[in-house]
C-alpha cells in the first residue's frame, strides 16, 4: 500500500513537472544614444506579435524600460525617440520553438545584430530577458529651390540620391554607376517643394548624398530649365555630394539652371499601310535618352500624332525612342495598344534640327522557351517584362505552354528586364540568353535583331512553397 501511495505521489509529481504553469516572462533593457552611450529618457518601446495587442513601455530617466507578463512566443521590438532613427522589427523570440532549437536554453536572441541576451530563471519560474537598445541620431537635408530668376519654385520635385560603393549590397542588383566607376547612386527620397520653394528630407542615416531638383510634370517648368544637382550642376559629373555625419542637419539651396538648346522635330510616318499615323486614333510617345545616361539623367519627352517636336535639346548623342499607341477602340478608357515603334541613334549639335522624320515599324513578338534544371518539376511559369528604359510602355506577360514555350506579344522598343515566377513553386533564373548573348544582367534591347528566341533556364526550391 505504501508502495502504491508513493508511486501515486511520484506520478502526480511527474504530471506537475510535465505541465508547468506558463512562466512569467519579463523583458527589460536600456535605451542609449549609439554614439555617446548616454541614456535616452522618454524613448518609447513597443513589443508586438501582430496577433494580439502590442505592449508599450517608456524609458525612465536612466533610459530603462521593462515589459512584464509576456508570453512564451515570438515578439518584434521597435523603439523610437524624437531626433533618432527608428529601430523596427528586432526579433525577441521567447517561444518554445526557439527554446527547443537553441543549444543553450538559458539564452535567447534579439535579432538582428546577434545581441545575445542572458536569460535567467527565478525559483518561481519567472524568466528575465535583457536587451540593450541603441538609437542612432537622424540626419536631415533641408533647402530652398529657386527658379533661374530667383523666385521660389513651388511643386518642384526633389530627389535625394545616396552615394554608395558600386559593389556593396546597398547598390542593389543593377547599380546606377557614378562617373568615377567606383560608386553608384541609390534613390532614397522623393518629395516636392512647398509654396516657398522649401523642402526637407529627415530620418536619414549618415552618408554622402546628391540632391537633385527636377520637374514634377506640368506647372511653370520651362523647356530650357534643367534638372539641377546641388549646388548648381546639370549632371552628376558637376554635382557635389553632401557628406552628412550622424545627426547632422545639412542645407542644400538650389537654383535651377537654365540652358537653351535646339529644336528637334519632324513627321511621324507609319509603315503599316496607313498614309500617316494619324489616320487612326493614334498617339506617339517619344523620348530622347542621352547615350551616357545613368538612368537618373533622362532626356526630354514629347508626344505627337502626325509630327513631333522636342524643344531646347542640349548637344550630345542620344537614343531616340518612339512608340505609337492605337486608341481607336477606346479613346477615353485608357486601353491603348502599342502597335508601332522605332529606335535610332541621333547626334544633336547646336543648330535646330527640323525635318527629322521618323518611320515607325510594326512591333515584333518575342518568343522563347523556359527549361528547368534537373530535379525540378516542369510547371507553367509566368514570364513578364519590366521596362528599364526612360519610357514605360507597360508590362507584357505570358504563361508558358506545356512544352515551355511562350510568346511576349508586340515588344515595344527600349530595354527590358524579364522576370519569371511560378504560383506553384519557388523558381529562380539560372541563365537567360538571347541567341548566344547573356541578357540576364543587362536585359533585352528591343527591337530584337534577327528574331532570335529568348532561352531561359530556371532552378527550383522543391522543398519550399513559393
Amino acid at each position: 500500500m505504501r508502495f502504491l501511495l508513493s508511486g501515486f505521489v511520484l506520478f502526480l509529481a511527474q504530471i506537475h513537472a510535465q505541465t508547468p504553469n506558463p512562466p512569467n516572462i519579463i523583458l527589460e533593457g536600456d535605451v542609449t544614444d549609439a554614439t555617446t552611450g548616454t541614456p535616452i529618457a522618454g524613448a518609447r518601446i513597443k513589443l508586438e506579435t501582430f496577433q494580439a495587442e502590442p505592449f508599450y513601455a517608456k524609458a525612465d530617466a536612466k533610459g530603462h524600460f521593462v515589459f512584464q507578463g509576456l508570453s512564451a512566443t515570438n515578439y518584434y521590438l521597435a523603439a523610437e525617440s524624437p531626433g533618432y532613427l527608428e529601430v523596427t522589427n528586432r526579433r525577441a523570440d521567447f517561444s518554445a520553438r526557439f527554446a527547443r532549437g537553441n543549444a543553450d536554453p538559458n539564452t535567447c536572441v534579439i535579432q538582428p545584430g546577434s545581441s545575445g541576451i542572458a536569460k535567467t530563471t527565478d525559483a518561481d519560474g519567472t524568466v528575465h530577458g535583457k536587451t540593450p537598445v541603441s538609437l542612432v541620431k537622424a540626419a536631415a537635408i533641408a533647402g530652398r529651390v529657386t527658379d533661374p530668376d530667383g523666385l521660389p519654385m513651388e511643386n518642384a520635385r526633389i530627389e535625394i540620391l545616396r552615394k554608395v560603393p558600386a559593389k556593396s549590397p546597398m547598390a542593389g542588383p543593377a547599380p546606377q554607376p557614378l562617373p568615377d566607376g567606383q560608386n553608384a547612386i541609390v534613390y532614397l527620397y522623393g518629395g516636392q517643394t512647398n509654396d516657398k520653394g522649401e523642402f526637407r528630407s529627415g530620418q536619414m542615416e549618415a552618408g554622402a548624398y546628391y540632391v537633385r531638383v527636377n520637374s514634377s510634370g506640368g506647372g511653370a517648368w520651362d523647356s530650357s530649365y534643367r534638372s539641377t544637382y546641388y549646388p548648381r550642376a546639370v549632371d552628376l559629373a558637376g554635382a557635389k555630394p553632401l557628406e552628412i555625419a550622424v545627426g547632422q542637419q545639412a542645407r542644400a539651396d538650389i537654383q535651377i539652371a537654365r540652358l537653351a538648346g535646339v529644336r528637334v522635330s519632324g513627321r511621324l510616318i507609319a509603315t503599316d499601310g496607313d498614309v500617316s499615323v494619324s489616320r487612326r486614333a493614334r498617339i506617339t510617345n517619344l523620348a530622347l535618352v542621352p547615350e551616357d545616361s545613368t538612368g537618373y539623367a533622362n532626356g526630354p519627352f514629347t508626344s505627337g500624332r502626325e509630327s513631333y517636336s522636342f524643344e531646347d535639346v542640349l548637344p550630345g548623342r542620344y537614343t531616340l525612342l518612339a512608340v505609337t499607341f492605337d486608341a481607336g477602340g477606346d479613346p477615353f478608357g485608357g486601353n491603348r495598344k502599342p502597335v508601332l515603334g522605332m529606335k535610332r541613334s541621333i547626334e544633336i549639335g547646336d543648330q535646330e534640327m527640323d525635318g527629322v522624320d521618323l518611320t515607325l515599324q510594326p512591333l515584333a513578338d518575342l518568343s522563347g522557351t523556359v527549361t528547368f534544371q534537373e530535379g525540378c518539376a516542369a510547371v507553367p511559369v509566368h514570364v513578364a517584362t519590366w521596362p528599364q528604359g526612360p519610357i514605360g510602355f507597360g508590362r507584357l506577360e505570358a504563361i508558358t505552354a506545356p512544352d515551355g514555350s511562350f510568346v511576349l506579344p508586340e515588344l515595344a522598343p527600349g530595354r527590358f528586364r524579364v522576370n519569371v515566377s511560378s504560383p506553384g513553386q519557388r523558381v529562380s533564373v539560372t541563365s537567360m540568353k538571347l541567341g548566344d548573348r547573356d541578357v540576364m544582367k543587362d536585359g533585352i534591347d528591343s527591337p530584337v535583331q534577327g528574331g532570335e528566341p529568348l532561352r531561359i533556364e530556371v532552378g527550383c526550391n522543391p522543398g519550399g512553397p513559393r
Binding site: D195, K196, R200, G304, S309, D330, P331, G333
Partner: protein, 507 residues
C-alpha cells in the same frame, strides 16, 4: 461640366495672333514681376512666358491656336482665362488673389513630432447635389512634425490628419480633425483670410474604437494560393474610399482593432494581382460600425470573371441619339469604352470586379482626332430600377445590366451685360447660374467688354454668383455669403430678356 461649357464658350485664338496684359496683386494693385503665364496650345507643348518687371507679358500663338491661359505667382492663387477671337490683341488685366496658409506642428500624446502624416484642409463641397468633404490643400508633415497647407482660398476649413506611420505604431491614432475629434463639427473650423498665414499646432489623441473580427469564406472548389489573404477596411463615404487598415488573415480569420464608429467597406482578396484580374478571388461587404465589437463577420469570396454590360442611349424628346462614347471608369484600372451604334445601343465588354463611374462623351473620331459632336448631355443613367449617373455602379460576379442612358439637347441661351460697382463693363468674369434648390450649376462668362455669354439646361429660378476661383461655387460658405449678390432670375424655355447685372460693391 465646367470644362465642357468653357470649351463651348471660348473659341480658340488663331495661330499668329498675340495676347498681352498685366499681372497684378488683387489686394494692392502692385505688379507681380516674374509671374508665369502658361498658354495651352492646340497640338503642341504649352507656351510659358514670364511677366517683366512691370508685371507685363506678351504671348504669340505662333505654333497653333491658343485655348486658355493659366497664370501663377508664388503665394497667390492661380488663375485661368479663356479666349474669344475678339480679345486678340487686347490688353488683359489679371489680378491674382493672395493665398492663405495654415501651418503648424503635429505632436502625439507623448509630445513626439508626428512624421509623414497626411494633413489636409478640407471643407464640404456640393457635388451633384451632395455635400462631399473634399480637400482644398494637402501636404505631408516632416520629421519635425511641421506641416504647411498653402494656396488656400480665403474661407473656413477643418484640418484633418491621417498619421499612417504613427497609426502603425499605435492603431488608436485614428484619422482625426483638429483639435482631436473623429468627425468634423461646427465648432472647430479654422478661418483664414486672403493672404493670411495661421498657425495651428495639432496634438493627436488616441481613440480606442472597437474590434472587428471574422473569417474569409472561400467558394467551394476554389484553388487557394499558399500566400495569405488580405482584409482591408475602407471608409465608405460620399466622395471616395480610404483604406484605414489592411491585415493578413491567419487560418482564414482576421482581427482589426481600434476601429472608430462609421460606415465602412470590408474588402478581402486572395494573394494575387492588384487590381484583381480574371480568376482572382475577392469579396466585399458594407459594414456599419457602432460602439460595440463585431466578432463574427464573414466575408464571402468569389472568383473574378469578366462581364459585359449592354445598354441603350435614348433622347428625352424621342429624337435619334447622337453618336457617343460610353465609358465606364474604374478606380482600379483603365476602364472600358464602347461606341454607340446607329440605334443607340452599346455594349461595355469585359468589365472586371469593382466600382465604375459612368461618363458619356458626345464625340467622334475624324481622321484620328477626337472631334466634339452633339451638345447633348446626359440627364439619367438607370441600371434596372437604380439611378447610377452620379453614384456609379458595382460589378461583381454577373452582369448588372442593362443600362438605359437618357440624354437631352435642351439649352437656354443667355446674353446680357455685367458691370462693376462703378458701372464699368466687368471683363473676363466667370459666372455661375445655380438652379434654385437643385444644386445644378451652369457656368458662363463675360468677354472683354462685359458681355455675358452663358447657357443653362432647364427653365426655373436661378441664383447668380461671381466665381473668383474654380472651387468657390462648391463652397457652401461662399454660396451662403453671396446668395443675394444678384436678384434671382426666372428663366423660361426659349428666348429670355437680356440680363443687366451690376456687381455689388464688395466684389
Amino acid at each position: 461640366m465646367k470644362t465642357f461649357l468653357l470649351s463651348l464658350l471660348f473659341a480658340a485664338m488663331a495661330a499668329g495672333q498675340t495676347v498681352q496684359g498685366d499681372i497684378v496683386n488683387a489686394a494692392t494693385g502692385a505688379p507681380l514681376a516674374g509671374a508665369h503665364i502658361i498658354a495651352n496650345v492646340a497640338n503642341g507643348k504649352p507656351l510659358i512666358v514670364k511677366a517683366d518687371a512691370g508685371g507685363h507679358f506678351q504671348l504669340s500663338a505662333g505654333t497653333g491656336p491658343m485655348f486658355f491661359l493659366l497664370i501663377g505667382y508664388p503665394g497667390f492663387l492661380p488663375a485661368s482665362r479663356g479666349f474669344q477671337q475678339s480679345q486678340a490683341g487686347a490688353d488683359l488685366r489679371i489680378a491674382l488673389t493672395p493665398a492663405a496658409v495654415i501651418a503648424g506642428t503635429i505632436q502625439d500624446e507623448d509630445g513626439f513630432p508626428v512624421y509623414q502624416a497626411q494633413v489636409e484642409a478640407v471643407r464640404y463641397r456640393l457635388q451633384h447635389g451632395r455635400r462631399v468633404l473634399s480637400p482644398a490643400a494637402s501636404t505631408q508633415s516632416d520629421d519635425l512634425g511641421h506641416y504647411r497647407l498653402a494656396n488656400l482660398p480665403a474661407g473656413r476649413y477643418w484640418v484633418r490628419v491621417s498619421a499612417f506611420r504613427l497609426a502603425n505604431w499605435d492603431r488608436r491614432y485614428a484619422p482625426q480633425y483638429f483639435p482631436g475629434g473623429l468627425q468634423p463639427d461646427g465648432t472647430n473650423r479654422i478661418e483664414v483670410q486672403a493672404g493670411q498665414e495661421r498657425s495651428v499646432d495639432i496634438r493627436m489623441t488616441k481613440h480606442d474604437g472597437v474590434t472587428i473580427a471574422g473569417r474569409v469564406e472561400m467558394p467551394s472548389g476554389a484553388v487557394v494560393s499558399t500566400g495569405p489573404n488580405w482584409v482591408e477596411l475602407l471608409t465608405d463615404r460620399p466622395g471616395g474610399q480610404e483604406t484605414t487598415s489592411s491585415v493578413p488573415t491567419s487560418g482564414g480569420s482576421f482581427v482589426i482593432r481600434h476601429v472608430p464608429a462609421g460606415s465602412y467597406i470590408l474588402r478581402a482578396r486572395a494573394a494575387g494581382n492588384y487590381p484583381p484580374t480574371t480568376g482572382d478571388l475577392v469579396g466585399e461587404q458594407k459594414l456599419e460600425v457602432g460602439d460595440a465589437d463585431e466578432p463574427n463577420v464573414v466575408v464571402a469570396m468569389h472568383q473574378v470573371q469578366p462581364v459585359d454590360v449592354a445598354g441603350t442611349v435614348v433622347m428625352d424628346d424621342g429624337s435619334k441619339p447622337p453618336p457617343l462614347y460610353v465609358t465606364a471608369r474604374s478606380m482600379m484600372g483603365p476602364g472600358v469604352t464602347a461606341q454607340t451604334a446607329e440605334d443607340g445601343s452599346f455594349a461595355l465588354k469585359g468589365l472586371l470586379w469593382g466600382h465604375y463611374e459612368l461618363a458619356t462623351i458626345p464625340s467622334r473620331l475624324v481622321d484620328g482626332k477626337v472631334v466634339d459632336g452633339s451638345p447633348a448631355y446626359t440627364i439619367s443613367a438607370r441600371l434596372g430600377e437604380q439611378e447610377v449617373l452620379e453614384t456609379g455602379f458595382d460589378v461583381e460576379a454577373s452582369s448588372p445590366g442593362p443600362l438605359r442612358i437618357t440624354m437631352s439637347n435642351r439649352h437656354i441661351a443667355l446674353t446680357g451685360s455685367l458691370t462693376d460697382d462703378f458701372g464699368k463693363p466687368a471683363a473676363d468674369v466667370t459666372l455661375a447660374f445655380v438652379l434654385n434648390g437643385a444644386w445644378t450649376e451652369n457656368v458662363g462668362n463675360t468677354d472683354g467688354h462685359g458681355v455675358i455669354h452663358a447657357s443653362v439646361r432647364q427653365a426655373g429660378d436661378y441664383h447668380i454668383y461671381v466665381v473668383p476661383d474654380q472651387s468657390s461655387i462648391d463652397d457652401e460658405d461662399y454660396v451662403e455669403q453671396h446668395a443675394n449678390d444678384f436678384p434671382i432670375i426666372h428663366l423660361v424655355d426659349g428666348a429670355n430678356a437680356p440680363l443687366v447685372l451690376r456687381m455689388p460693391a464688395t466684389q
